[in-house]
């Protein structure tokens, strides 16, 4: 069995093996957060749960080794029905106070104006995770 310390693109860059292992997303999903929510495309996504307006749970087929993984995302609102264009994705730690687990993440999407913010179902919600699988 051979063990490579580096991965090299032909005629191009070199990647340390640890980067190739740890640096790739172990889960990601692009889903429609409006109406009956549905994934458009994904990796390692087992389920999507609609917990209410702008409040979702993302389940993973293969669990993470711990709940300290890094999650992030972006989102886009469905239309111009609100006077704001910022759709953001935030890990839900506060309201509701649900911490990440090794098999799922609670995620909220918010639309925000200069004076207020509110949970909002968004047409394109993208969420991805960096971390180690179990």
């Amino acid at each position: 069995m051979s063990k490579a310390a580096e991965l090299a693109e032909f005629g191009g860059g070199i990647s340390d093996g640890a980067n190739a292992v740890s640096g790739v997303a172990k889960a990601w999903v692009n889903f429609d957060g409006t109406g009956t929510i549905a994934a458009r495309d994904s990796l390692n996504n087992a389920s999507l749960t609609d917990n209410g307006t702008g409040d979702y749970s993302v389940g993973y087929t293969n669990s993470f080794a711990n709940d300290d993984y890094c999650g992030g995302g972006s989102a886009s609102i469905a239309d111009n029905s609100v006077d704001a264009n910022a759709g953001i994705v935030a890990p839900s730690r506060h309201s509701p106070n649900v911490a990440f687990t090794t098999s799922s993440s609670r995620v909220i999407t918010v639309v925000q104006t200069s004076t207020s913010s509110q949970y909002f179902d968004e047409a394109i919600v993208c969420w991805d995770i960096k971390g180690d699988l179990a």
């Binding site: 190739a20 292992v21 790739v24 997303a25 692009n30 886009s76 006077d83 910022a86 993208c126």
Partner: protein
């Protein structure tokens, strides 16, 4: 001559930190860019052929290699805006370009919800290339 490795699992040189090729192929970032939205100019990037300034806080990134479908995952981030107010809000707006060959990023000012050029904007995407 280019070569091709066919493996099921990658491990580091110590034989630890294994990852299935499913995640290497499906979870690798296929496009990323760090750019100055004021100039504008690209600081560094992968798989971006052109950066187009459509107006204040409004940019189009054209890909060198197209995605297989316009269902890829994306993220945007901003270090700061170049005018008063934090430029932390960024999103593709309704009607923005989101295709296999290009992606439109838009950045706002959180104080006034107006468009704002980022001093340092970042966009990246995961998914399968064509």
């Amino acid at each position: 001559m280019a070569s091709e490795l066919r493996v099921n699992t990658l491990k580091d040189a110590a034989g630890a930190n294994s990852v299935a090729m499913e995640y290497v192929a499906g979870g690798s970032t296929k496009f990323w860019v760090s750019f100055d939205g004021v100039t504008p100019s690209t600081s560094d990037s992968l798989n971006q052929s052109t950066l187009t300034d459509n107006g204040t806080g409004d940019f189009t990134h054209t890909f060198t290699s197209a995605f297989g479908a316009a269902t890829y995952g994306f993220q945007l981030s901003i270090r700061d805006g170049n005018t008063a107010g934090r430029g932390r809000f960024c999103t593709p707006q309704n009607g923005s370009t989101y295709s296999t060959t290009a992606f439109q990023s838009e950045f706002q000012n959180d104080t006034s919800s107006t468009m704002q050029d980022p001093d340092d904007g970042s966009v990246w995407a995961v998914g399968d290339l064509a």
